[in-house]
Symmetry: none
Amino acid sequence: MQLPAENKPRWERRKDARPQELLAAALDLFVERGFASTRLEDVARRAGVSKGTLYLYFENKEELFKAVVRNSIVPVIGDAEVSIAAFEGHSADLLRQVIQNWWQRIGATKASGIVKLVMAEAGNFPELAQMYQEEVVTRGTMMIRGMLERAIARGEFRPVDVVQMTQVLMAPMLTLVTWKHSVGPCARAELNPDAFLATFLDMALFGLLPVDSRARPAA
Amino acid sequence: MQLPAENKPRWERRKDARPQELLAAALDLFVERGFASTRLEDVARRAGVSKGTLYLYFENKEELFKAVVRNSIVPVIGDAEVSIAAFEGHSADLLRQVIQNWWQRIGATKASGIVKLVMAEAGNFPELAQMYQEEVVTRGTMMIRGMLERAIARGEFRPVDVVQMTQVLMAPMLTLVTWKHSVGPCARAELNPDAFLATFLDMALFGLLPVDSRARPAA
Amino acid sequence: MQLPAENKPRWERRKDARPQELLAAALDLFVERGFASTRLEDVARRAGVSKGTLYLYFENKEELFKAVVRNSIVPVIGDAEVSIAAFEGHSADLLRQVIQNWWQRIGATKASGIVKLVMAEAGNFPELAQMYQEEVVTRGTMMIRGMLERAIARGEFRPVDVVQMTQVLMAPMLTLVTWKHSVGPCARAELNPDAFLATFLDMALFGLLPVDSRARPAA
Amino acid sequence: MQLPAENKPRWERRKDARPQELLAAALDLFVERGFASTRLEDVARRAGVSKGTLYLYFENKEELFKAVVRNSIVPVIGDAEVSIAAFEGHSADLLRQVIQNWWQRIGATKASGIVKLVMAEAGNFPELAQMYQEEVVTRGTMMIRGMLERAIARGEFRPVDVVQMTQVLMAPMLTLVTWKHSVGPCARAELNPDAFLATFLDMALFGLLPVDSRARPAA
DNA sequence: AATGAATGAGCCTTCATTCAT
DNA sequence: CATGAATGAAGGCTCATTCAT
């Protein structure tokens, strides 16, 4: 009870750690196999617990998935919002930073699998689609749109249709993760995310900067 | 065909049409519900045959799916290759034409559902991924890359990393169909394919044309 | 193939016979174990088919149960209605006949188990309760009430509250089947349906006939 | 209770009350949902304790149920036995009193739910059936039979088969509670316990009193 | 060639019971 | 005494695939 600093709070850690352990296992398997094909029994086993234990922490498969999204994607959006709001430099640099940040925290991590998965399976699970739409897509879209509006207002980007351009800017990143998790393993080498993003940024900035600032800020 | 009035049983007359009818039904349902959620019984019923008949023409669900891909996507690639090879005008116009053509024959049709589907489920069906990679992705990529090389060689586009730019150019179109078939139904209005493509083309051409041809060819 | 008149229409009989075989098996098991505790796999096994086959003929467990009710109880009601409408003698004899008929066709058969089961489990399965109420209880009640009204109109029974008396007359029969299928197996001997019904009829007729016809019709 | 201001932890103070609280919670839920559908976790929650605590007081679900029966039904039988033994008036009045008393203490209370429950689920839980048979049915039956024998011996009822008549007299009361807890909620209005019991008593007494005492005692 | 009845493995979810703390 | 996290068996339902006719 009052042993020295040997502390073996094994029992306590269990309960608090379980949700995270389960979410980690679920993330792995959802990314590996998709939503429909992931068996809860496998999630439980990977977390080292029994099937029933899952239901102590998550009401059902869909809620588990939502929790994974809230755990792995939503916080990144929040951070990005803060980061953008605080940015003070040139919008071209902001765009670069946002994309790089997205790649580091989502694109290059397992979370990218969730992004891809939602696009792949949302059609069959409307409730998931709606939750994702509300908590991720809408916020993410607003973020990018705000960035564009700031850039145009400051005269740093030429005037464009911000609504459409927002989507145009997001599209390549989404395709990137989609490739990564579908044909990626088949397309040997061809898929080089860093070069892809650099090329995309190059073209986008070239396409967005006003003609008179052709001397674009270096990458 | 022109036999006397012996009128054979209907089913025999349609022997050759069967596969096409089945493929059409399968296309419809795969697009509507995805691969896993499509029941072969429904495919059969929509084609007006019984479940067992499907197995006379296709070994199993996966083979049926491959056949659908070969039937709905591959031919379009062939036509596009011919069309590009024959083109003689300015590369900006060629790019416009290719994208418009793609939208008319794939993006706006049911075939777009297959494109999305493959990206969604390829991960779970490696064999499918490989077949798609070989018969669709590689050929499509080569086509776009060739177009870029022609444009740069003729001095109509500024020099860029053609390998990456090829992918950058394809990405928005893929995301477009993915959206159309996943969050599309959720995102009310926000998704306007024509405006999206126009904005994308605008940015891409602005980003690709040499600085001195800023007076871009009108759309 | 062209054997003599050995006719082995095994295959055809199968399909037509299946529903009845399944209903018989379901009746057995529902009566033995109740609705909730009956496993569809057991029903299937008892009918000599696999679990999936059940679902070719019945949408789900509740529909199977409804079918059992419609198969084993409802027709008896119909017959009784006809029989009562055609009866021309003294109402005391009619009452005797109805009760005896009920005992022969329901009380003494497996169908009695269904009657008991509905009373036992209706609370947990509202849809079943409603169907039973509509197709059995209401019709049965109307039948008995009509009989009472006839008897009173003809001066063969003394005037009573027909609504309540209808229920009073049905109650002992329902308790009888309930006992039979619950405590019955425990109560050694004590439960003698024939003596019970005779005693009940004796009391009921003694209680229903007008005082001046105390010379009751013999049993 | 009146200890100094040492105020012990709440749970210790209530140690003796626990079983009663648990039984009350169990009674509520068993009546509401039946034996099989009642979850022990709900019982525990309603009693304000944890699931594990239940097992400190009751070995398992069946034992809990038996305890509920012993707590809510058995004592009423005891009281009734005493009350009958002490009665000195006319047997018709005794029968009325017994039935009214039963209605007040069982029929109109939650205990009626237990009576119904046993009839409904005894088949699947033989041990419950036996316990109920021994501690409730047998004693109750003996009680009524004794009453009938007294009535006949005193010439207040006409001679009948007392064994069967005992059951005939109990049957409507059992059906009443069964209805109340099954189809009751479905059958709008039709079920009026007071009118039902009055009608039943009227018929029973009319059927049991000797012909020469036709001037029956008023209700 | 065509049928469609039959199969049976597969998966989500529930809940009585146990036991480490 | 009390807790509540953990277990794991059980069951309804689906659907790709087979095969007797």
